[in-house]
């Protein structure tokens, strides 16, 4: 929408960003955010380049080749890498893992080396050495040695115990067994003997020993359910599905033993949710993605057994790649302490020097002539002064509070225990006490100035309930009786007619039930049919009960609602979905699932109905759906109005739509789809493009409204935080209206608050920037910032800004990419100079603008950023950290908050429910 603008002229007033539009996808801000970081994974790049040098050019992201059942293949010289001097080693790691640090021989030297890397220990060592010099020593040698040995000993014992535990763990894990094809048969083998390319068999409830490609399983269509709790902490089951071809041909042991496919994929990396690769087998190629990969650390569930071929083993697995070194986080106290200790150390040296000079003088004046001080040595006074300098350093060593580090550690440990013991942070309903995951950040908690909070799950409970819907322009969900008359008293709808109803849905609109049951309006039925078919929910039909396993609670709520209204989702295979429609079971062929991601903000399924018609069903955020609607949509405006009403009631909305697809159209599209899905590079982009082609000219069916209740005690907490002068920034992906209403309902905004929107701020910032530029023009040296406030003080202000305005204001432009090639090849030196200058000017402008924005936002008592992408969330946190140098707290629970939470050195608070005293596990991490 605003892609055709030039980044040089950023203040075009004519093209304002649309509040409703989500900003462009995350990928474009990515380079912006990650630019200060060094190139990603240098080691991997090194391997890549090495691999490329040694063999014929292959595509860069597919340099990892795995051949099934062929160990010799991986021993070929091109897969060797130089590890140490001239020793060559296969780049494929074995599956044995090594997490321990020391062995019997290396323990003492390595551990001592590690310990003396600490400043405190090293300092004591130097003191000890000084004290062994008889001319210098002023204290007995043991005064330093004993405490040093004590500290070293205790730490060494602790390390030893830890390392022994690690040895045990490693041993236990490496000696776990699973079935591996050896000489054509499945034989039990230890995990450590598994190698890349081995075909293995896993049983129910077994842990996956390495990153493997799923070939087949006992379930139909080779589905395989896994629990990924160890990887990402999510306890819901995820399903993995093998390729159809491997599912078909690789069920028998003998077939498995003869399997000789070649897998080409990217080098090992730490992205858990990304995988691209290709399988070459029987002279055909098949695309591979993360859905076909079982990662080490997962647990096989609900599947009797499954087969797979090892792609990454041991240290190459994604989980091991992820378990990097834990970065030591420095708190403000730490840096203050460092500063103090170093200052004191310098003072000590100066003091000792001063004292030594004084001593020299005294020695000259008095000491030399004092017969009673005769010591048999014939040193000159300056030499005596020099010796005394070191003596004083030893004597005054207690001045350097080196034990402060230890004391602070102990204090923090104590604090973390007190946090764990705090009754007020104990959540009785889930029997969860608070848990401090780290002991290093405790005191930071008390210094927080800014809280960045997600909305869902933090301000709200993330327990979704289907509340209302709008079908074909008609709104349902109010309390009404069967004939559509409003009722004053709320009467729950009786779902007993529906054998699949779970009886938990509270719904008062009897009229909707009537509509469904009589089936007069096809749209009503179609609406719930769509809800029942268009999702990625897994069903677990144990002991006659349907249990839905949904990736997101919204989806779960919708599918459950459809089930209650008579459209129960019963089961799913790779290509079919079975649904009970008002008691009649029907099975639909699923031709394609166009899955959801945070950029697309929609998902679609293409199904073939039993009568042969092909239909596309789509649900998604209103903005993206409205862009793709058929121009002739009678209910468009009505639904839009309803959506606004829903948003004002702080309901979460989704739009539903469908489309008939002719066979010809489908065939044509399917061809493209197949092509895109085997694309070796940029597969995601290619797929997105293909998806885009079919998801157009949609016919609007209606909209759903889900309620996400506010957490208990949120308003009280917010008012308390406000009293403590802590600023709260809510970052959410919701619509502006929803966000604003949530703001009001949690009393972040009140009637007295003046709310500023994106356009006000943009204007303010622009005048400010112009002023600053003018000033800088008139006085070149004036680098001082104008610090006058943006607003007249006195009034309570809040800022509500959408993601697109954020980009507009912060000059995050799409065009940057377009400009890049031009920048790379300037024709003349002059041109180059010009470009550099303009770039520099733009950078300076941008920085000034960012600074101004942060200054402005910090004058407001509350800031709500709506319609922001995860990357933008992270960006906002970074901005405040950068320009305010304040301690920030990022709270969030969902996957979309990870960026924000991971942003450097802010305190992370993963929490289920955090507010006030009734809170579950608040993990400080």
């Amino acid at each position: 929408m605003h892609s055709d603008r030039d980044s040089e002229t950023t203040f075009d007033e004519d093209s304002q960003p649309n509040d409703e539009v989500m900003p462009y996808s995350d990928d474009e801000t990515e380079d912006e955010l990650e630019s200060p970081l060094p190139a990603v994974e240098p080691e991997q790049n090194r391997i890549n380049t090495e691999a490329e040098e040694s063999r014929e050019p292959v595509k860069k992201d597919c340099s990892w080749q795995v051949k099934a059942n062929d160990r010799n293949f991986h021993e070929q010289p091109q897969f060797k890498k130089t590890t140490f001097l001239c020793f060559k080693k296969s780049k494929y790691a074995g599956n044995a893992i090594k997490t321990y640090k020391y062995n019997a021989i290396t323990f003492l030297p390595l551990n001592l080396l590690e310990q003396f890397k600490r400043v405190a220990n090293f300092y004591f060592l130097v003191l000890l050495i000084l004290q062994t010099i008889p001319q210098i020593t002023t204290l007995s040698w043991y005064t330093t040695l004993v405490p040093l040995l004590l500290v070293l000993g205790i730490t060494a014992i602790k390390d030893l115990v830890d390392d022994i535990a690690r040895h045990r763990m490693d041993n236990e894990i490496n000696n776990r067994t699973c079935d591996v094809i050896r000489d054509g048969r499945f034989k039990t083998a230890k995990w450590k003997d598994i190698q890349v390319g081995d075909v293995i068999r896993l049983e129910k409830n077994a842990f996956v020993p390495a990153d493997i490609l799923l070939l087949s399983s006992s379930e139909p269509n080779s589905l395989c359910y896994v629990e990924t709790a160890e990887l990402d902490g999510e306890t819901n089951l995820k399903f993995k599905m093998s390729l159809e071809v491997t599912d078909r041909y690789l069920q028998e042991e003998s077939a498995m033993a003869e399997f000789d496919g070649l897998i080409e994929c990217e080098e090992p990396n730490n992205r858990l949710d990304k995988f691209t690769g290709t399988l070459f087998w029987r002279s055909r190629t098949y695309p591979l993605d993360a859905d076909k990969i079982l990662l080490r650390g997962c647990k096989i569930r609900n599947t009797d057994f499954c087969h797979g071929v090892v792609i990454f083993a041991g240290g190459d697995t994604k989980i091991m790649k992820n378990s990097g070194k834990t970065r030591f986080k420095r708190t403000k106290i730490d840096s203050l302490m460092n500063y103090m200790v170093y200052t004191i150390f310098i003072v000590l040296i100066l003091l000792s020097a001063g004292l030594a000079i004084g001593h020299t003088y005294w020695e000259q004046q008095i000491g030399n002539t004092s017969w009673y001080l005769y010591d048999g040595e014939d040193y000159s006074p300056p030499y005596r002064g020099f010796l005394n300098f070191w003596g004083y350093i030893i004597v005054l060593n207690t001045m350097v509070p080196i034990s402060l580090y230890v004391s602070v550690e102990v204090i923090r440990l104590g604090q973390s225990y007190f946090i764990n013991w705090d009754l007020q942070m104990y959540y009785p309903e889930k029997d969860t006490p608070a848990k401090a995951r780290t002991t290093t950040l405790n005191e930071q908690l008390g210094q927080i100035h800014y809280i960045f909070s997600d909305k869902t799950g933090t301000l709200t409970q993330n327990i979704m309930a289907f509340k209302k819907c709008c079908i074909n322009g008609q709104t349902y969900g109010e309390s009404r009786d069967g004939s559509g008359q409003h009722q004053n008293h709320e009467e729950q709808v009786d779902f007993s007619w529906n054998m699949y109803a779970d009886g938990k849905l509270a719904f008062c609109d009897h009229y909707l039930i009537e509509q469904i049951r009589c089936g007069k309006e096809t749209e009503v039925r179609q609406f719930f049919f769509l809800l029942a078919i268009c999702h990625t929910v897994m069903v677990d039909a144990s002991d006659g009960q349907l249990n839905y396993q949904a990736a997101s609670p919204d989806e779960g709520a919708l599918v459950t609602a459809a089930r209650n209204f008579g459209f129960a989702f019963l089961s799913r295979t790779q290509n079919t979905i079975t649904i009970s429609e008002m008691g009649i079971e029907k099975t639909y062929d699923v031709l394609a699932i166009l899955d959801f991601n945070s950029d697309r903000k929609r998902m679609s399924v293409i199904v073939r109905e039993p009568d042969g018609n092909i239909k596309l069903y789509c649900k998604g955020a209103d903005t993206v759906i409205y862009e793709r609607l058929h121009p002739v949509n009678p209910q468009r405006q009505v639904t839009q109005d309803t959506l606004d009403i829903f948003a004002n009631e702080t309901l979460r909305t989704l739009c539903l739509c469908y489309k008939d697809i002719s066979h010809g159209e489908y065939e044509a599209w399917n061809k493209k789809f197949m092509e895109a899905s085997v694309a070796a590079s940029n597969r995601d982009e290619a797929l997105d493009k293909v998806y885009e082609e079919i998801e157009k000219n949609l016919i609007l069916l209606g909209a759903t409204a889900i309620e996400d209740k506010l957490q208990d005690g949120v308003p009280e907490t917010i008012s308390k935080l406000a009293k403590a002068d802590i600023k709260i920034w809510v970052l959410t992906g919701d619509k502006k209206e929803t966000a604003e209403n949530i703001g009001f309902s949690c009393e972040l905004l009140t009637d007295e608050t003046t709310i500023c929107y994106g356009e006000d701020i943009s204007a303010l910032l622009q005048t400010r920037l112009e002023n600053q530029n003018n000033k800088a023009g008139s006085n070149i040296n004036s680098s001082q910032r104008t610090n006058e406030p943006f607003f007249q003080s006195g009034r309570n202000r809040a800022l509500i800004i959408t993601g697109s305005w954020l980009n507009e204001i912060l000059l995050e432009k799409k065009k940057k990419k377009k400009k890049l090639p031009k920048l790379k090849f300037p024709r003349t030196a002059e041109e180059k100079e010009k470009q550099i200058q303009s770039k520099r000017r733009a950078d300076a402008n941008k920085e000034q603008q960012q600074r101004n924005f942060v200054d402005l936002a910090c004058e407001c008592s509350a800031v709500i950023c709506c319609r922001v992408t995860p990357k933008q969330k992270a960006m906002v946190v970074e901005l405040v950290k950068k320009y305010k140098k304040a301690i920030t707290l990022a709270i969030g629970d969902g996957a979309n908050d990870v960026n924000m939470i991971k942003s450097k050195s802010s305190i992370k608070l993963y929490c289920c429910l955090f507010w006030t005293r009734r809170h579950a596990s608040s993990h400080v991490k």
Binding site: I366, G367, S370, W371, Y372, L373, Y374, D375, Q424
Partner: protein
């Protein structure tokens, strides 16, 4: 809500934190609210007390001056065996009643020097085997003579012992002077005399010190320090013990004698003319030091002490000054209404 919460907490034993005073940080604690009146009043009381203490302890210090010819003589160490006597006259204006103590006072004598302080052998002074105890000490270079004979007592402290002898004479009239009776024992601490210092055991003292020699700067060996009193000889000689207790400052005084309350001196020293007869042995001019004789009585707080007096006076003054500053700040800020709000 609170009640409900704590009830819920009691019901579930599993992972619920204990509701103990320690774990919930409810242990009784003194949390003083330091308001201006209490702080200021305590400042002023403490300050005034210190000032008063200082005032009542600074007392008249009596000191003897230098006998110039003797000092000159002692500057040259080759004259060590030449005796030098010196008399100092002075007049007491009023009676010194009660216990009267005689001190010698040294100025610019660094008994606190690190090496000097360590240069002694406590084991030797306890009467243990000389050869063994000397080895583990830091008496160097006053451990042995070049020929290997151990020094008793070893170390720089013992070696530099104050060895002037001072006698006090009282003029009954202008011509007849009688010696003031002074006690030379019972001046040291009981613990020093009976615990920390002990002579080597033998049938007599001189044989106990056999095989050792006097420290180089001494005029006579240790077993001749007091030939009259066996219980005040050798290591347990009071003068020696007092000297061995090193002082913290370069200017210090050590107790030398006490007045024996007999005859005219039953109540103390009467006013009148006195003379000190001093045998000048201890050289001080080389290191720009001075020697003085001090006569002093004691007050209710012990012996008069200049340093303590100064310390009290100074700290008292500082505290009172701080009190005034705090008062000023308090009065100034109290006018502002916003102070302590928010």
């Amino acid at each position: 809500m609170k009640n409900k919460n704590s009830q819920g907490a009691q019901e579930c034993p599993s992972r619920c934190p204990d509701n103990s005073a320690f774990k919930q940080q409810k242990l009784p604690a003194w949390k003083p609210k330091l308001a201006a009146p209490t702080v200021l009043s305590s400042f002023f009381t403490i300050g005034l007390f210190c000032l008063l203490m200082g005032i009542c302890l600074i007392l008249y210090i009596n000191y003897s001056d230098i006998c110039l010819n003797c000092s000159k003589l002692r500057e040259n160490s080759s004259n060590w065996d030449k005796e030098c006597n010196c008399t100092v006259h002075f007049t007491l204006q009023e009676n010194m009643l009660g216990n009267v103590f005689m001190y010698y006072r040294l100025q610019n004598f660094y008994q606190n020097h690190r090496r000097y302080v360590l240069s002694r052998s406590d084991a030797q002074l306890l009467g243990q085997d000389v050869n063994v105890s000397i080895q583990n000490s830091s008496c160097e270079p006053f451990t042995t003579y070049p020929n290997g004979t151990p020094v008793a007592p070893c170390g720089a402290i013992a070696n530099s012992m104050f060895n002037d002898s001072i006698q006090l004479f009282y003029y009954l009239n202008s011509s007849t002077a009688i010696e003031v009776p002074l006690l030379k024992s019972g001046n040291s601490w009981w613990s020093d005399k009976n615990v920390k210092f002990r002579n080597p055991t033998s049938y007599n003292l001189s044989s106990a010190f056999a095989g050792t020699t006097r420290p180089p700067y001494w005029q006579k060996p240790a077993y001749l320090l007091d030939e009259e009193d066996e219980r005040n000889n050798g290591y347990i000689n009071d003068d020696f013990i007092i000297w061995m207790r090193v002082s913290a400052f370069p200017t210090f005084r050590n107790l030398y004698r006490r007045l024996s309350h007999t005859n005219q001196f039953a109540d103390g020293l009467p006013a009148g003319n006195y003379t000190f007869h001093i045998t000048y042995n201890f050289p001080v001019t080389k290191f720009k030091g001075q020697k003085q004789v001090v006569l002093s009585t004691i007050t209710w707080s012990g012996g008069s002490n200049l340093f303590l007096g100064i310390a009290y006076t100074v700290s008292g003054a500082v505290i009172v000054l701080a009190g005034f500053i705090i008062t000023a700040i308090h009065l100034k800020l109290r006018k502002k209404k916003t102070y302590f709000q928010r």
